[in-house]
Symmetry: C2
Subunit: 655 residues, 2 copies
């Protein structure tokens, strides 16, 4: 059967399930990437699993998010991550090397491989003929430990690319045009696969731009073929031998079909405050701006900075404009310096920042209140820039540079100049010190994890007891969000590597006595929670399951659960149950003690669990929705213990 | 009479007093500089004074401290400062242009002039044959408004410089050697004046390094002659016409004398946690390091970065070292890029940060807990790096670069290489857009101040009433510090431009009901405070006087006052009184109401003030220590009103 590239990639990695859209498949993972903001918990999970060494072909730990270092927490995290990378046999990219996605592309990405990353823009490396996907931290930890990644088989959406981009229009305008057409949910449950004659005119880095913002379309992955251009790119990185050709078979088909003619695209811009809020630049030209920001994984290429440099060369940016340059990797920065592009940018009035994610994730360079900021970054959700009342537009480097010169939103085609042709560097400054290589196994085993005062191991977690007799510490209403379970923000986030500390903020907004009450009985009985409909909606943060579990949570009874939080509870060994009859919710009160007996046998033998309210004659039926794999995981006390058991590690007691 | 350079500078600017060490003199101020962290309050003070236009020859507002922008507060401050600079006729240096001191030196410094700045390292420009001094915010506001600066006539300390620095030893080692000899109080009450044949071998920027850290010796100012080297420097900046020769007369003498022979100096290093804790590098060579940091106003020159670049060129820094490069000005960064030094630094593994103060004032690049950080910055006070348990060493760029290569404290003379000769750029990239020039007066008058939501004007303050009948809201013990009056730290500091908000933190540590109780009677009677000995010790922050004044504080009765806080109270119209008999302190209780009658006449006619305790028959004598000038200021309601009156502006009522 003729196959497209996505199908080939999936088929070659399928370890369970059928390739039928919507059904669960298990995929072997060849490579992983973790960044520092999510990576510390992943490394603590690997420690808790007693992992000896990464089972993947290549796993890399990048430091790119938290590199401002206003106090010791970030640098302590960096040292911890470096020691963990050494201990577990990972690559380590230190602060200053750049953003994970372009660095991974330059150093490790290989056509034909799968890549799972604890960063939503992991999909960017789909430009290399890889199946590259973002996932939660523990999913990546599992992949590093050699476990498959489970996902619903997506539909494959084929986009045929024809024509050639006009002057002043670049890859960013292509993906913005697709966001204009399909908005931020258009790609949900789909892999977007690009093919067709137009690809000949899109470089590997152009494709990175397009693949990166597949995340903004909501797609599971974006896939490009591995063609001659990818061969050229790998050869320029001295990695020609890593290339293999992977293109769609003649006659391959797609579940959905679309065409995009590059020659018809014009400069596009996403208005505040959604990447899907796209209009042509002409529609808002003339709006005054405060900031023009070049960089991030959504425009990481040498070309993206060089074209901006050529546009502003010999000129000054408009009075009072903050023109921020955020290089994406040390290697590209070196080349941009050598080719005088950085000199052009600085002379024009630019502020040059260290290589990393920086402003893209609100770590510096926040705009002034209510002032317009033009950015080449992938997202403009409200407040993401760091400024609550922000006004962020997403555009190409051409549009951002042109607007910096004029001080207002400017269609770059209206500049009085010829479109500068930027030549890629034929021999990039390859830096083999960019990624510290994994240590040999014997050496790695002697490494101990370096934990600063704010980094705490995940404690051992006990298997599911056969009998639970637990008080209900909170009875909650409908639509409790993970923000209410465990808030984000600058007060709480610094404790992301410290479960004992971050758990103190659990349910603080709902009932600030919860922490004390839970701790009092944590090692005696543990406790239960009761929720209404849509329990655990919102952010996917795994801490919202892990922190209450740390405080002794064993079971949550709710009318129903938000999908990701339900998964997180299961992953960390908390039993999520729904009421067979929702009216039983009313019979429960905060302070009641519930009794669940023969629990281990019961959940293995069926979906129903009998719940008795102590001191009354009442009992009712609750229901679990665990798969066989998940039942096994639950019995063992969660994913970490499950992996330990797979590797024949002893599971002792614990919280 | 033969005069030294310091005497010439003082004599030419003397408007009051005699040049007798220890007595108060008034000096005409030609130039001012303000930075953003202190400048917002200065600009609000100018607004409150109804200043129309700066009366100085040149005043510049720099943005170099708060340039990370994690939310809207910093960028809102920048816009406010830019609008204030335009309104009041100041130069404005936007974020990214660099640190105030080297930029001022390049663009505005003029031999023979006085410079007052709201930054303690303002003394750096003493390298240009100027009298350059740091001062509090309102002192600088007064200078901008054309008022003299009052200071005790310092002793002049002549240091004769002989010999020539050996290879691998540079200006930083000279000032570290002086700190080794005299420690951090050795310069208190003195102007340090350098002269002698050794100056021939110290460039203008070398002298900047030495003058800058005169602040660490505690000196009032550091003065170098304006000689041929200063002429060369100014010519290289296209400002040759700004030069005039100012050297000591033959036969000039000094109050104190010392010699330093450059040829005997070796690489020096200040150990944690004081700039005076200096030893030769050899004494601690081999200590492992975590970070090597090049930059700041203490090593701001092209040479300082170029020598580091030459040392690491073609090599890699040691595994895991954070090698941070913090350029000090856009102009020098441009030249360093053009001359390939930045390429050498980045290729060796450096992290390149935007031009500004950054890590020097704890704004990023904090080291990991307890790890050794080698820095070319001027200060290593505990915690200043941002990390509470820090371990910061101060050294030359040569020592920092050598140590980055080896991963441990390294005497650069032990590197297996020839000392690289760094050539100054003969034609620096002069950037005339670096400083936005003052607007013409008519245009300036049309500018309104741009105030983000966190910037609030200083309200009008009422003159001293003739009768005060005020309750004592707090009775405090000895040694109350300004930290207890108004805390610093990241919770309070963001409100430095917002008096109504920051005043909510007043006395919070001592009695958190103070704010509410004060606000209740603020517009009815106002209130009094009672303190013991050494009231207001510690930091010089003017908010510690301004915030309680905003809440209605009119009089403080104490056993005695710390000098600077006393001055700040007077500046903001709060009457500081001491007890004639300390035992009267015991007769007062919190909650008592005190009565002061005929107050305006009384303080003009003598030092004693009668204080009656309402509802009792008690009264006692208190004493004021105001000078004639200060009595006038007090009657008018503080410095701001006093300036308004000088410029014939109406003073209405107010708080």
């Amino acid at each position: 059967m003729a196959m497209n590239v996505s199908q080939k990639l999936i088929k070659n990695h399928l370890v369970s399930g059928e390739m039928v859209p919507g059904t669960e498949i298990g995929l072997k993972i060849d490579q992983t990437l973790t960044q520092d903001a999510t990576g510390t918990m992943v490394m603590l999970e690997l420690e808790a699993m007693n992992l000896d060494r990464a089972k993947t072909e290549a796993s890399a730990q990048y430091v790119d998010h938290n590199i401002i270092q206003e106090d010791s927490k970030n640098p302590d995290d960096h040292l911890f991550l470096q020691s963990a990378a050494r201990r577990f046999g990972l690559y380590y990219s230190r602060p200053g090397n750049g953003v994970s996605h372009p660095v991974h592309m330059q150093q490790l990405a290989k056509p034909g491989k799968t890549l799972l990353g604890s960063d939503s823009h992991t999909c960017a490396n789909g430009c290399m003929g890889m199946l590259a996907m973002g996932a939660g931290g523990i999913d990546v930890a599992m992949a590093i430990a050699g476990e498959p990644f489970y996902v619903k088989m997506p539909e494959i959406w084929g986009i045929e690319v024809t024509g050639r981009l006009p002057d002043w229009v670049s890859a960013k305008d292509v993906i913005l045009e697709l966001l204009r057409r399909h908005d931020v949910k258009g790609g949900v449950g789909k892999i977007i696969e690009y093919y067709g004659p137009g690809l000949e005119h899109l470089s590997a880095m152009d494709r990175h731009v397009i693949a990166n913002m597949g995340a903004e379309l909501g797609a599971t992955a974006t896939v490009f073929p591995s063609d001659k251009e990818i061969h050229r790119f790998l050869k320029s990185q001295d990695r020609g031998k890593d290339w293999e050709e992977i293109v769609a078979d003649d006659g391959a088909t797609y579940d959905l079909n679309e065409e995009i003619d590059l020659s018809t695209i014009e400069p596009m811009i996403a208005k505040p405050s959604s990447p899907g809020n796209v209009v042509p630049v002409t529609a808002i030209a003339g709006e005054p701006i405060y900031q023009s920001y070049i960089g991030s994984s959504a425009n990481p290429g040498y070309r993206d900075f060089a074209i901006a440099a050529e546009i502003v060369k010999g000129k000054h940016v408009a009075d009072g404009i903050s023109f921020d340059i955020n290089p994406s990797s040390r290697q590209m920065l070196t080349d941009l310096v050598k080719e005088s592009h950085i000199a052009s940018l600085i002379s024009s009035g630019a502020r040059l920042h260290q290589a990393g994610c920086n402003g893209c994730i609100g770590m510096g360079q926040a705009p002034a209140t209510g002032r317009n900021s033009l950015r080449t970054t992938p997202r403009n959700f409200p407040g993401r820039s760091g400024t609550r009342e922000d006004s962020v537009f997403l555009c190409s480097p051409e549009t951002a540079a042109a607007s910096a010169l004029t001080g207002k939103v400017t269609d770059p085609r209206t500049l009085d100049m010829k479109y500068p042709k930027v030549k890629e560097v034929s021999r990039p400054s390859i830096d083999d010190g960019l990624l510290q290589k994994p240590l040999p196994m014997e050496e790695a085993r002697n490494i101990s994890l370096e934990k600063g005062p704010n980094i705490a191991s995940i404690p051992e977690m006990s298997p599911l007891p056969d009998k639970l007799e637990v008080p209900i510490l909170l009875k909650m209403n409908d639509n409790i969000s993970t923000d209410e379970i465990l808030a984000g923000g600058s007060r709480v986030l610094p404790y992301r590597s410290n479960l004992p500390e971050i758990s103190k903020f659990s349910f603080e907004i709902i009932d600030d006595t919860y922490y004390d009450r839970a701790m009092e009985i944590r090692d005696v009985t543990g406790h239960a929670l009761v929720g209404g409909y849509n329990y655990g909606q919102g952010s996917s943060r795994e801490h919202a399951a892990l922190a209450p579990r740390y405080l002794g949570l064993r079971v949550v009874l709710a009318k129903d659960f938000a999908r990701i939080h339900w998964q997180n509870l299961v992953n960390f060994g908390v039993l999520p149950l729904t009421f067979k009859n929702d009216s039983d919710y009313d019979s429960l009160s905060q302070g009641d003690t519930i009794l669940l007996e023969d629990l281990r046998t019961t959940i293995q033998n069926g979906k129903e669990v009998k719940v008795t309210v102590k001191g009354t004659n009442q009992s009712f039926t609750a229901v679990h929705a665990l798969s066989e794999r998940q039942i096994d995981m639950m019995l063992k006390g969660g994913l970490i213990n499950w992996v330990k058991a797979r590797h024949k590690k002893e599971v002792k007691g614990g919280i």
